[in-house]
Subunit: 294 residues, 4 copies
Amino acid sequence: MLRYFTSGESHGEALVAFLSGLPAGLAVDQEFVDRELWRRQQGYGRGGRMKIERDTAHILSGVRHGKTIGSPIAIMLQNRDWQNWKEALPVETGDPEKHKRVASPRPGHADLAGALKYDFPEARYVLERASARESAARVAIGALAKLFLRELGIEVLSHVIAVGATSIADREIAWERVEEVSRKDEILLSCADPDAEQRMKEEVDKVLRTGDSVGGVFEVVAHNVPPGLGTYAQWDERLDSLLAGAVMSLQAVKAVEIGSGIQAAHSPGSAVHDEIGYRKESLPTGFTRTRNNA
Amino acid sequence: MLRYFTSGESHGEALVAFLSGLPAGLAVDQEFVDRELWRRQQGYGRGGRMKIERDTAHILSGVRHGKTIGSPIAIMLQNRDWQNWKEALPVETGDPEKHKRVASPRPGHADLAGALKYDFPEARYVLERASARESAARVAIGALAKLFLRELGIEVLSHVIAVGATSIADREIAWERVEEVSRKDEILLSCADPDAEQRMKEEVDKVLRTGDSVGGVFEVVAHNVPPGLGTYAQWDERLDSLLAGAVMSLQAVKAVEIGSGIQAAHSPGSAVHDEIGYRKESLPTGFTRTRNNA
Amino acid sequence: MLRYFTSGESHGEALVAFLSGLPAGLAVDQEFVDRELWRRQQGYGRGGRMKIERDTAHILSGVRHGKTIGSPIAIMLQNRDWQNWKEALPVETGDPEKHKRVASPRPGHADLAGALKYDFPEARYVLERASARESAARVAIGALAKLFLRELGIEVLSHVIAVGATSIADREIAWERVEEVSRKDEILLSCADPDAEQRMKEEVDKVLRTGDSVGGVFEVVAHNVPPGLGTYAQWDERLDSLLAGAVMSLQAVKAVEIGSGIQAAHSPGSAVHDEIGYRKESLPTGFTRTRNNA
Amino acid sequence: MLRYFTSGESHGEALVAFLSGLPAGLAVDQEFVDRELWRRQQGYGRGGRMKIERDTAHILSGVRHGKTIGSPIAIMLQNRDWQNWKEALPVETGDPEKHKRVASPRPGHADLAGALKYDFPEARYVLERASARESAARVAIGALAKLFLRELGIEVLSHVIAVGATSIADREIAWERVEEVSRKDEILLSCADPDAEQRMKEEVDKVLRTGDSVGGVFEVVAHNVPPGLGTYAQWDERLDSLLAGAVMSLQAVKAVEIGSGIQAAHSPGSAVHDEIGYRKESLPTGFTRTRNNA
C-alpha cells in the first residue's frame, strides 16, 4: 500500500523523503515528526555532526490544512551545513580543486564496493549516499507511518537491548518500560533497563578512549498488531520477509531476528514454541500464548 | 531500470521529481532541462498560468560536479505563485476561511471521482494533484532520460499532428522536420507542417472566441532505437504496453496508438504490415522495411 | 492486489496461468472458466488451430472444495497437439533435425525483433512465445477475475464494434445488447448489431478470398464500476494507464482509447465533456451524466 | 532481472515453480535440478514424507532443445501421494465428509494467524500452503539460478554450521570443505566438520527420543561474487536487504545474519572490520582483505 524512497547526499543541500499511498484525512502532527528526528540524533558517544543537524521536516507536498490529502508526500530535510559544502559538492561543474577526496575506502562501509561498482577513482560520492545520514529521511517517513498506525491503535517502539558484551537483564521487564523510555526528554542510550544502560555507557566510554567503536542490538516492539498482516501465500509477501528486508537495509545492520530467533536456533522446539490456548474473554481473538518467542 | 515518481500540488510550494536508477557519470546539462521545461510552457491558446510559472529545475540530489553519481535524483520545481497561495493551501491547520473551495466538479477531470474516492466535501484537493501542472515534474525527469538516451545515440522528439479537424498533410514529410521544430526558439504549436500549423491556430482561435476548447493529437518519434527493447515474454514487459501505460497516464490523454494503429484497425493486413527485406549494408542489422506502420 | 503471469509456448506441452492475490472463499465456477476459453476460440475466419485446441482449465492449485483458499492459483492448459510437436520442440536436447525453422520473420509480429534481441538464427522460439495462443492463459485468469468482480456486482463484457471499414451503427444501442451477445451459444463475430455483423462477415469473406486479413475494433464495457478505482495521485496508479497498458499488451492490439478518446481528439471540448448533474435519488452517488464519453 | 513465484499446496496435485527473466541460451542440466531436489529431501531425523516425494522437475515451458529460450519457465513438481489426497482436497466441491480438519493450530506455524486472517474455521488450508513443502518449488528455481551463475563463474553453496548447542569448530576450515560436502552422494547433515556432524546427529537423536525437535543454523557461501551487486543508492536495492528478505521468507527461518553479524553486535569495531589492503596482482581488483566478517 505504501511506497517510500529517499534521495540526498550526506553533505548535499537536502535530503528528500518521498512517501506515496497514505490515505487522505490523516492528521499530521509536525511536532511528532520533528521529535522523531530529534530522537534519531540522540545517543551516547556519537560524532559532532549530530549537533549541526537539528533536523526539521519541511513538508513540500501531500499535507494541507494539517492533514494528508491522498497525494504523495515529499519532505525536505535541509542540511544546515550546506554553506560549508557547496563548493566541495556543487551540483554544477564547479571547481575540481575544491573536491574533498576520500582516497582510503573505509572497511565496514560501502566505500570500496561502491567505487568499484560505479568506477569512481575515489569514494567521496559513495560515502555521501551510503551515509547513515540518509536514515534521517527514513525517520521522517517512519514518523508518518507511526501516526497512521496510531489511528489503528498500533504502537511501534524501540529500545537498545545490548551494547558490546552488556545486555539487558530481562526482555519482558524491559517491554513494559519501552513506552516510557521513548517519551523521555533526555536520552542516554534508549535502554529500558537503567542498570544495563549505565554499563552500556561504560562500554562506550571504554572504546572511545581507544578510538574504537562497539556494536549493539536494538529491539523493535509493536503493540496491538492484528494477526494476519502479510501472508504465507507467496514468499515476497510474508511479514517476516518484508520486515527483515527493511531492517537489514539500514546502514549499520548486519543481522535481524524475529522474536527470539537467534536463541531458537540453538534450542529444542519445546523451549521455543509459544503454546496456544483459548479463553473466550481474551482480546481480540480469544487465543492466548504463554510466551512471546515467535 | 529507472523508477520515477512525482509529488506536489498545482498551487503548493513546489513539485518534486524523483528519479532513481540513472547510472553514474552522465553529464547533466541543466540548460537542456530548463529548456524542456520552457517548451512545456509554450503552445497557443493556453491560460495565463504559463506566464507565472517559468519553471527552473532546482536539483537537490544525485548530481555533483555536473554529473550523475548513481544516487537518486530529486528535482524541485518551485511554485512562483506560492506566496499568493500559502494561506489558501497551508501545510499546517491554517485558517479554514481562506480555503478556496471547488464546489462544482469539472467534467473531463478527476474532480468528481476523486472527491467521491477520498470522501472530500469539495474538489480542491483533487484539482490540486490531478492538475496538468504535475506534468512539469515529469518533463524534468524526461529531460534527464533524454540526456541518457542521447549518449546511446537515441533521440526522442515530438510534434503536434492534429488539432480538431485539422491534420498534417503527410506524416513522413513531417518526420524529417521534427528535429528542426523541436529546436525552434519560438513555438506556435510545435507542428512540423507550417500550413497545417496555421490552420490549427485558426481552430484554436475559433474555439477561444466561444469559450470552448479543442482536442488534438501529438506524435512521439524516436530515432535510432535498437530492436529488442522490452520483450514479448511477459505481458507487463512488452514495450507497447509500457509505452501505452506511460502516455495514457498524462492528464489529458484518452487514446494511444503505436504507429498507424488506429488506421490499421480499419485496413486489410496487406496495407498495414511493413514488409521485411534484407540488404547486407543496411544499418544496423541489415534488415529493411519499406514502410513504418508498426 | 492481483499479480498474474503466464508461461508456455504455442506448441509446447502446456500453457500455465499464474494468479496471486484473490481472497479466500470465492466460488470458482469451472464451467464459466471453460466457457470463456471456448468463447476465445470462436470468431469468423479463424485458422484451423482453433478446432484442435478446445481448451479446458486444469486447476493445479489455489482452489479446494470449489473455492479459492487464498493461495496462488495455477491453471494448466494442455496443448492437445503436443504429441505431434514433442519431437520438434523437446525440452531436452532432442534431435536437431526435427526442429521446424521459421526462416522468414513475419511482418507485424515479434519474429524479427525477438530474433535480433535474443540472437536466435531463426524465429521459431519467438513465434512460439509471442503467439496469440498465450492469450488463452490470460482468458483463464480473466475468467477468475470476472467471477470475483461479479461478487461485487461488476460485470465486464466485450463486443466487436468494427471490422475493416464496417462499424456498428450506434454505440449506445449496442451497449444494451452486449450482455445478450456474450451469452449466445453460437458466436459469429460477437457484434451486438446484427446488420453490422453480417457486413463484417462479408468483409472477412472478401479478404479471405485473396489470402489477406483485416483489422477490427473491440470494445470492453464494464457495468457498475464504483467511482474512484485507481488514483490520480501517481502516474502509475491511474486507472486509464493500467487499463491501456494491459490492453496494449495483447498480441494484435496497436491502439487503445478510453471512451470516445479517438474522436475526442478531433472535437471541441463542448462536444466531448460529459456534463455532471445531481439528482438525490440517482444511484449510487446521486451524480448524473448526460453522456458517457469519458 | 529475475521474477519468481510458486504455487501449490502440500498435498495438492502439484507445485508449480514460475521463473521469468533468465536470458535465452542457458543450458539447462535437468539432472542437476533433480539432484538439488534430492538434496533438499535429505537430512537426518526428517519425517516419512520425504520418502514419498522423490521430486523430479517436469519442465512445462521456457526450455527447448536443452536450453532456455527467453520465455518464462514453469516447472511442475507432481505430488506422488495425490491419489491418496484427491478426495480430501478436491478442486471441485467434493464430499465435505472427506475433508481432513486441522482443528488444533500448531504453534510456530502460520496455522492460527492464517485461519484468523482468512476466517477459516480450521487450519487445513493454511497448513497446506504454509508448508515447508513449498520450498521444493523454490529449490527448482534456485537450481536454475545456480546454473546461470555458474556461467558467470559464481558458485553458491551451503552447509549446516550448528544444531542446537553444537557448532562447527572453525568456519574458515569449513569453507574449504563446503564444495566437497555439497557433492556427496550420501548426506547426513550437510556439515563440513565431520566431528561436529557426529555430535549434531546425537543432538537430533536425543530430541527424537522425547518427541521434541531442535533448531539449527545453516550458512550460504558464495564464491567469486563481483563487488557492486545491489546498490546503496536506495533502501530496497541493497544486496543485504534483498538477501535477508529472501532467506527470511523460508518457512522455518527466524534470523538472518550477513557474515559475522550476530557476533559483531557484541564486539568492538576493531575486531570486526575487515581491513582493506592493495596488492596489484591480487585478483580481480587488486584489493585485499585480511578477514571476511562483512
